[in-house]
Amino acid sequence: MELRIPILKIQDYLIVPIQIDMDDATASRLQQDILTKIEMTEASGVLIDISVMEMVDSYLGRILGDTARMANLMGAEVVLIGMQPAIAITLVELGLRLEGIYTALNIDQGIQLLDNLITQKEENGGS
Protein backbone atom coordinates (compact mmCIF):
# COMPACT_ATOMS: atom_id res chain seq x y z
CA MET A 1 0.00 0.00 0.00
CA GLU A 2 1.32 3.38 -0.91
CA LEU A 3 1.37 6.07 1.73
CA ARG A 4 0.62 9.67 0.91
CA ILE A 5 1.13 12.67 3.11
CA PRO A 6 -1.86 15.05 3.06
CA ILE A 7 -1.36 18.62 1.87
CA LEU A 8 -3.88 21.14 3.23
CA LYS A 9 -4.55 24.63 1.94
CA ILE A 10 -5.45 27.50 4.25
CA GLN A 11 -5.83 30.86 2.53
CA ASP A 12 -2.63 31.38 0.51
CA TYR A 13 -0.58 28.75 2.31
CA LEU A 14 -0.13 25.01 2.09
CA ILE A 15 0.31 23.03 5.29
CA VAL A 16 2.07 19.68 5.16
CA PRO A 17 1.88 17.70 8.41
CA ILE A 18 4.34 14.81 8.25
CA GLN A 19 2.88 12.32 10.72
CA ILE A 20 4.63 9.11 9.73
CA ASP A 21 8.12 7.71 9.44
CA MET A 22 8.48 8.06 5.66
CA ASP A 23 10.34 5.60 3.49
CA ASP A 24 12.42 7.07 0.66
CA ALA A 25 9.74 6.55 -2.00
CA THR A 26 7.08 8.29 0.09
CA ALA A 27 9.43 11.23 0.72
CA SER A 28 10.24 11.62 -2.94
CA ARG A 29 6.53 11.38 -3.81
CA LEU A 30 5.78 14.09 -1.23
CA GLN A 31 8.32 16.39 -2.88
CA GLN A 32 6.51 16.10 -6.20
CA ASP A 33 3.08 16.42 -4.57
CA ILE A 34 4.07 19.67 -2.83
CA LEU A 35 5.41 21.23 -6.05
CA THR A 36 2.35 20.15 -8.04
CA LYS A 37 0.05 21.53 -5.37
CA ILE A 38 1.90 24.88 -5.40
CA GLU A 39 1.31 25.12 -9.13
CA MET A 40 -2.36 24.06 -8.88
CA THR A 41 -3.30 26.35 -6.00
CA GLU A 42 -0.86 29.23 -6.64
CA ALA A 43 0.03 29.10 -2.97
CA SER A 44 2.62 31.70 -1.96
CA GLY A 45 3.96 29.79 1.03
CA VAL A 46 4.34 26.26 2.40
CA LEU A 47 4.60 25.17 6.03
CA ILE A 48 6.10 21.72 6.49
CA ASP A 49 5.35 20.47 10.00
CA ILE A 50 8.10 18.07 11.07
CA SER A 51 7.29 18.22 14.80
CA VAL A 52 6.44 14.52 15.11
CA MET A 53 9.26 13.24 12.91
CA GLU A 54 11.43 10.95 15.03
CA MET A 55 14.50 11.21 12.83
CA VAL A 56 15.80 12.99 9.76
CA ASP A 57 18.68 11.23 8.05
CA SER A 58 20.77 12.62 5.19
CA TYR A 59 18.29 11.42 2.57
CA LEU A 60 15.23 12.97 4.22
CA GLY A 61 17.21 16.11 5.05
CA ARG A 62 18.23 16.47 1.45
CA ILE A 63 14.65 15.93 0.24
CA LEU A 64 13.37 18.63 2.62
CA GLY A 65 16.10 21.07 1.60
CA ASP A 66 15.66 20.38 -2.11
CA THR A 67 11.88 20.78 -1.83
CA ALA A 68 12.33 24.22 -0.27
CA ARG A 69 14.77 25.29 -3.00
CA MET A 70 12.53 23.95 -5.76
CA ALA A 71 9.49 25.73 -4.32
CA ASN A 72 11.63 28.91 -4.17
CA LEU A 73 12.37 28.58 -7.87
CA MET A 74 8.64 28.41 -8.52
CA GLY A 75 8.07 31.54 -6.44
CA ALA A 76 6.83 30.08 -3.16
CA GLU A 77 8.47 30.32 0.26
CA VAL A 78 8.91 27.26 2.51
CA VAL A 79 9.24 27.14 6.29
CA LEU A 80 10.00 23.98 8.27
CA ILE A 81 8.25 24.04 11.60
CA GLY A 82 8.65 22.30 14.93
CA MET A 83 12.00 20.56 14.61
CA GLN A 84 12.64 18.51 17.77
CA PRO A 85 15.87 19.21 19.70
CA ALA A 86 17.13 15.66 19.13
CA ILE A 87 16.73 16.11 15.37
CA ALA A 88 18.51 19.47 15.34
CA ILE A 89 21.40 17.85 17.26
CA THR A 90 21.69 14.86 14.91
CA LEU A 91 21.41 16.97 11.76
CA VAL A 92 24.29 19.21 12.83
CA GLU A 93 26.39 16.22 13.95
CA LEU A 94 25.68 14.55 10.64
CA GLY A 95 27.01 17.64 8.88
CA LEU A 96 23.68 18.51 7.27
CA ARG A 97 23.08 22.19 7.85
CA LEU A 98 20.10 22.79 5.56
CA GLU A 99 21.59 26.12 4.58
CA GLY A 100 19.19 28.75 3.33
CA ILE A 101 16.16 26.93 4.73
CA TYR A 102 13.72 28.92 6.86
CA THR A 103 12.58 27.33 10.11
CA ALA A 104 10.19 28.30 12.89
CA LEU A 105 9.40 26.91 16.33
CA ASN A 106 5.70 26.40 15.76
CA ILE A 107 2.90 26.95 13.30
CA ASP A 108 2.04 30.48 14.56
CA GLN A 109 5.61 31.67 14.14
CA GLY A 110 5.78 29.84 10.83
CA ILE A 111 2.77 31.74 9.48
CA GLN A 112 4.21 35.02 10.73
CA LEU A 113 7.55 34.27 9.06
CA LEU A 114 5.79 33.46 5.77
CA ASP A 115 3.76 36.69 6.01
CA ASN A 116 6.98 38.68 6.53
CA LEU A 117 8.87 36.92 3.74
CA ILE A 118 6.07 37.49 1.28
CA THR A 119 5.56 41.14 2.26
CA GLN A 120 9.30 41.72 1.82
CA LYS A 121 9.20 40.11 -1.59
CA GLU A 122 6.26 42.24 -2.69
CA GLU A 123 7.98 45.42 -1.49
CA ASN A 124 11.19 44.55 -3.32
CA GLY A 125 9.26 43.58 -6.43
CA GLY A 126 7.32 46.84 -6.39
CA SER A 127 10.30 49.16 -6.11
Binding site: E54, M55, D57, L94
Partner: protein, 133 residues
Protein backbone atom coordinates in the same frame (compact mmCIF):
# COMPACT_ATOMS: atom_id res chain seq x y z
CA UNK B 1 26.67 -10.33 24.10
CA UNK B 2 22.99 -11.02 23.51
CA UNK B 3 21.40 -11.13 20.08
CA UNK B 4 18.18 -9.16 20.12
CA UNK B 5 17.08 -9.09 16.53
CA UNK B 6 18.25 -9.80 13.02
CA UNK B 7 16.73 -7.95 10.09
CA UNK B 8 17.05 -8.65 6.38
CA UNK B 9 17.48 -5.69 4.07
CA UNK B 10 16.02 -6.57 0.69
CA UNK B 11 13.86 -3.67 -0.34
CA UNK B 12 13.74 0.02 0.37
CA UNK B 13 10.98 -0.33 2.97
CA UNK B 14 13.29 -2.53 5.04
CA UNK B 15 15.38 0.58 5.80
CA UNK B 16 12.39 1.97 7.71
CA UNK B 17 11.67 -1.35 9.45
CA UNK B 18 15.31 -1.61 10.45
CA UNK B 19 15.58 1.88 11.94
CA UNK B 20 12.28 1.41 13.78
CA UNK B 21 13.52 -1.85 15.29
CA UNK B 22 16.74 -0.18 16.43
CA UNK B 23 14.83 2.71 17.95
CA UNK B 24 12.60 0.31 19.86
CA UNK B 25 15.60 -1.59 21.22
CA UNK B 26 17.35 1.68 22.15
CA UNK B 27 14.21 2.77 23.99
CA UNK B 28 13.98 -0.54 25.85
CA UNK B 29 17.64 -0.25 26.84
CA UNK B 30 16.79 3.21 28.23
CA UNK B 31 19.00 5.31 26.03
CA UNK B 32 18.07 9.00 26.28
CA UNK B 33 16.03 10.58 23.50
CA UNK B 34 19.00 12.23 21.76
CA UNK B 35 20.96 8.96 21.73
CA UNK B 36 17.89 7.07 20.49
CA UNK B 37 17.73 9.56 17.62
CA UNK B 38 21.48 9.25 16.92
CA UNK B 39 21.21 5.45 16.84
CA UNK B 40 18.12 5.53 14.61
CA UNK B 41 19.71 7.99 12.19
CA UNK B 42 23.02 6.10 11.96
CA UNK B 43 21.08 2.86 11.37
CA UNK B 44 19.09 4.48 8.61
CA UNK B 45 22.28 5.68 6.86
CA UNK B 46 23.99 2.30 7.07
CA UNK B 47 20.92 0.24 6.14
CA UNK B 48 20.46 2.50 3.11
CA UNK B 49 24.09 1.93 2.21
CA UNK B 50 23.46 -1.82 2.10
CA UNK B 51 20.36 -1.37 -0.05
CA UNK B 52 22.01 1.03 -2.48
CA UNK B 53 25.38 -0.60 -2.96
CA UNK B 54 24.84 -4.29 -2.24
CA UNK B 55 21.11 -4.66 -2.92
CA UNK B 56 20.64 -6.82 0.16
CA UNK B 57 22.18 -7.71 3.46
CA UNK B 58 21.61 -8.39 7.13
CA UNK B 59 21.48 -6.10 10.15
CA UNK B 60 22.14 -7.66 13.55
CA UNK B 61 21.15 -5.84 16.75
CA UNK B 62 22.92 -6.93 19.93
CA UNK B 63 23.09 -5.90 23.54
CA UNK B 64 26.61 -5.78 24.94
CA UNK B 65 28.23 -4.91 28.23
CA UNK B 66 31.77 -3.98 29.23
CA UNK B 67 33.12 -2.71 32.57
CA UNK B 68 29.59 -2.33 34.00
CA UNK B 69 28.56 -0.31 30.97
CA UNK B 70 25.67 -1.36 28.78
CA UNK B 71 25.66 -0.77 25.08
CA UNK B 72 23.89 -1.40 21.84
CA UNK B 73 25.89 -2.89 19.00
CA UNK B 74 24.60 -3.03 15.46
CA UNK B 75 26.33 -4.91 12.65
CA UNK B 76 25.59 -4.31 8.96
CA UNK B 77 26.67 -7.15 6.68
CA UNK B 78 26.44 -7.50 2.94
CA UNK B 79 27.96 -9.56 0.15
CA UNK B 80 28.01 -6.67 -2.28
CA UNK B 81 30.84 -5.32 -4.42
CA UNK B 82 32.84 -4.02 -1.45
CA UNK B 83 34.45 -0.61 -1.11
CA UNK B 84 37.58 0.10 -3.14
CA UNK B 85 39.03 2.91 -1.08
CA UNK B 86 37.93 2.98 2.57
CA UNK B 87 39.70 6.25 3.33
CA UNK B 88 37.87 7.89 0.50
CA UNK B 89 34.53 6.36 1.56
CA UNK B 90 35.02 7.61 5.11
CA UNK B 91 35.88 11.13 3.95
CA UNK B 92 33.29 13.88 3.93
CA UNK B 93 33.61 14.57 0.24
CA UNK B 94 32.65 11.12 -0.92
CA UNK B 95 29.63 11.59 -3.10
CA UNK B 96 27.20 8.82 -3.72
CA UNK B 97 24.32 9.36 -6.09
CA UNK B 98 21.68 9.86 -3.38
CA UNK B 99 23.16 10.03 0.06
CA UNK B 100 25.33 13.11 -0.44
CA UNK B 101 28.23 11.01 0.81
CA UNK B 102 27.28 11.42 4.45
CA UNK B 103 26.34 7.81 5.06
CA UNK B 104 29.56 6.36 6.49
CA UNK B 105 31.21 9.44 8.04
CA UNK B 106 27.83 10.61 9.35
CA UNK B 107 27.10 7.29 11.05
CA UNK B 108 30.57 7.29 12.56
CA UNK B 109 30.04 10.72 14.09
CA UNK B 110 26.70 9.74 15.60
CA UNK B 111 27.97 6.55 17.28
CA UNK B 112 30.66 5.94 19.94
CA UNK B 113 32.51 3.20 18.07
CA UNK B 114 32.70 2.38 14.40
CA UNK B 115 34.60 -0.34 12.58
CA UNK B 116 34.53 -1.39 8.97
CA UNK B 117 36.04 -4.19 6.93
CA UNK B 118 35.46 -4.50 3.24
CA UNK B 119 36.83 -6.83 0.57
CA UNK B 120 36.36 -6.16 -3.11
CA UNK B 121 34.00 -8.69 -4.62
CA UNK B 122 33.14 -10.19 -1.23
CA UNK B 123 31.29 -7.59 0.75
CA UNK B 124 31.33 -5.15 3.60
CA UNK B 125 30.82 -5.46 7.33
CA UNK B 126 30.30 -2.41 9.53
CA UNK B 127 29.88 -2.56 13.31
CA UNK B 128 28.75 0.42 15.35
CA UNK B 129 28.32 0.74 19.11
CA UNK B 130 26.65 3.23 21.40
CA UNK B 131 27.24 3.07 25.17
CA UNK B 132 24.56 4.08 27.61
CA UNK B 133 25.61 7.06 29.67
Amino acid sequence: MTLIEEIKIQEEKDIVLCRRACREVARQLQFNLVDQTRITTATSELARNIFEYAGEGIVRIEKISKNMKQGLQITFMDEGPGIKDLNEAMGEGWSSHRGMGMGLPGARKLMDEFSITSTLGEGTRITVTKWRR
